[in-house]
Amino acid sequence: MHAFEQLLHGFAVALTPVNLMWCLVGTTLGTAIGVLPGLGPALTIALLLPITFKVEPTAAFILFAGIYYGAMYGGSTTSILLNTPGESATIVTALEGNKMARSGRAGAALATSAIGSFVAGTIGTLGITFLAPIVVDWALKFGPADYFALMLLAFVTVTAVLGSSAVRGMAALFFGIWLGLIGVDLQTGQARFTFGVPELLDGINVIIVAVGLFAVGETLYVASRYKSGTDEIIPLKGSLWMTREEWARSWKPWLRGTALGFPIGAMPAGGAEIPTFLSYFLEKKLSTKPEEFGRGAIEGVAGPEAANNASAAGVLVPMLTLGLPTSATAAIMLSAFQSYGINPGPLLFESQAQLVWGLIASLFIGNVMLLVLNLPMIGLWVKMLRIPAPLLYAGILVFATIGTYGITQSPVDLVLLYLIGGLGYLMRRYDFPTAPVIIGMILGPLAEQNFRQAMTISAGDWTVFFTRPISATILVLALLALAGPKLLGFWQSFRMPAEPMGGDA
């Protein structure tokens, strides 16, 4: 029970008043941005990245993790009461949740989603506790060639499996990889793609790209389709206490959703959309009252909400143990690690045991806080939904500007931010996913580094990637992931309906 002992030490770290405060700030902020349309965890954490220069790593990551988990809880409130999913992972919740709210059962829908999130979040965090050390043992055997193969696999899965088109996903990814290449090559000191602009020598800051795509691009997109009418907010009706029947119909979907969400999140494919859709269809199939689906079936809220939160927990496993981010938020968190000079990966659990286990313990505590924040205090968040869109989006742009301009006070960065924002608008309009840009930008340089190390070790022998059993296996998996959906498409004309969204899960 090594992990258990470590976890107890983690609680000692997380339960100090200062860290509890960070956890509370994070979960509150996370819920708020989850509730507000137009704001997501990747954007929020990107804007808060400068905090890494001021506070110690444990505190910063407790804050970021609180935001990450909180956004998952908050997003469901918006889905249920407004029918406009705040997060891409809560699309499915809107299907049944909004119908429940319309028939006066908003309270029960919010309760089953909050309690389900709590159950899934807690089990998912337990999953991290016990799975992470196993992955670490395994990952210690990895060489640079294996890491490179693993990154290729992640590239393929985040682009080809998620979203509606592998080509568009890949194009977004390659654009991100190129952005990541800009600046001085750390190994040789050569400047690459700087076009003679001295500001570009240090590379493009991920904050600028994330804020440009997720705040500026999103605001432009919403503005282009916004017709000054207000969305209908369904008043909070119905008791927050679930009836005996609602409990009976909820607990199994929670557990099944968790069982789907955590493993899929923990795979290098990541992403919360697929497990939520799978959970929805599974519950529909297993339900004793399938006729209620489409008219407000509580199982259709309970299952996907649990799957969503469990996969959010799962994504942290490859992030912490392998340094492999599979969502935009995880990629931004990885850049926070880099800003501290910490390299996530198997050695993290040895060298930064206090940070890792403090973070995991804070996830347990954060889940409890979020349950309180999202049930008894739900009225507060409903009020936030009433902020008029003009003020909300104007505020988002002002904040985006401060966050970016504040880093260097350079108008060049601001111009770059707005240009990337314009690009983000076009990407939304032409159905390109945006998350692969961020993942490519963060993971691209790491892939290059591992590639070069592998080639140096093998003395320039290209076959090294195919002769090592681990990397060969992973490369085969990557090939399957790339070709698999196509092959499946030939087999059956029906495909998993995974609608691409803003991609900021």
């Binding site: 400068p50 503005a223 916004y226 104007a394 108008p411 032409y430």
Partner: protein
């Protein structure tokens, strides 16, 4: 983080959404052209990177070359798709973007860049705030300007000062700083 959009209970499978179209899709054509142009720029710039013979094995140009070829291939695939009628979903194709709204927001952004180093963050933010709110249909300019100012100041004193990032202070900021803290920054 997504745009408000109404969700239909049944998501359309891709095959249905991309109903058979023919002919050139102009928007998609431009996007594909942009991707190809980017690939060409990457390739051209890659040859500008000096390579020291010391690093002949995997030098600084290997990954850029890979990126250039990848981007080129994807651009070509996008071009094929654009020539065959494009890939935009029907919903997106039928929506005409609200150009007036876009111009207002874009104007706010451009004015912000021009003003921020001249007049300081607060004034530039007010302009950005008012323009954006106008783009979203708000007509209450005075109210928006006041909210924008309050927002900018909260951001300046709360966010920036706590995070220790320094935003270009201007007339309003310095005045308030003197009133509250008795000194001028920098």
């Amino acid at each position: 983080m997504t745009a408000p959009q109404v969700i239909e209970p049944v998501s359309q499978p891709e095959s249905q959404a991309a109903s058979p179209r023919s002919g050139l899709a102009v928007g998609e054509f431009c996007i594909a052209l942009g991707a190809l142009a980017l690939a060409a720029v990457i390739l051209w710039q890659t040859f500008e990177i000096p390579v020291s013979p010391l690093y002949a094995k995997v030098g600084p140009t290997v990954m850029p070359l890979f990126t250039a070829f990848g981007m080129g291939l994807l651009g070509a695939l996008l071009m094929v798709s654009a020539l065959r009628g494009g890939w935009q979903t029907d919903d997106e194709k039928e929506t005409t973007p609200d150009k007036v709204a876009l111009v207002w927001v874009a104007a706010g952004l451009i004015l912000n860049v021009l003003l921020i180093s001249q007049t300081g963050f607060a004034l530039a933010s007010i302009v950005l705030f008012v323009c954006t709110a106008r783009g979203f249909g708000s007509r209450a300019i005075v109210r928006d300007a006041l909210i924008g100012l309050a927002f900018a100041l909260v951001a300046y004193f709360g966010f920036a000062k706590t995070l220790g990032i320094n935003i270009g202070a201007g007339i309003i900021e310095n005045l308030l700083e003197r009133v509250f803290f008795g000194s001028t920054p920098n």
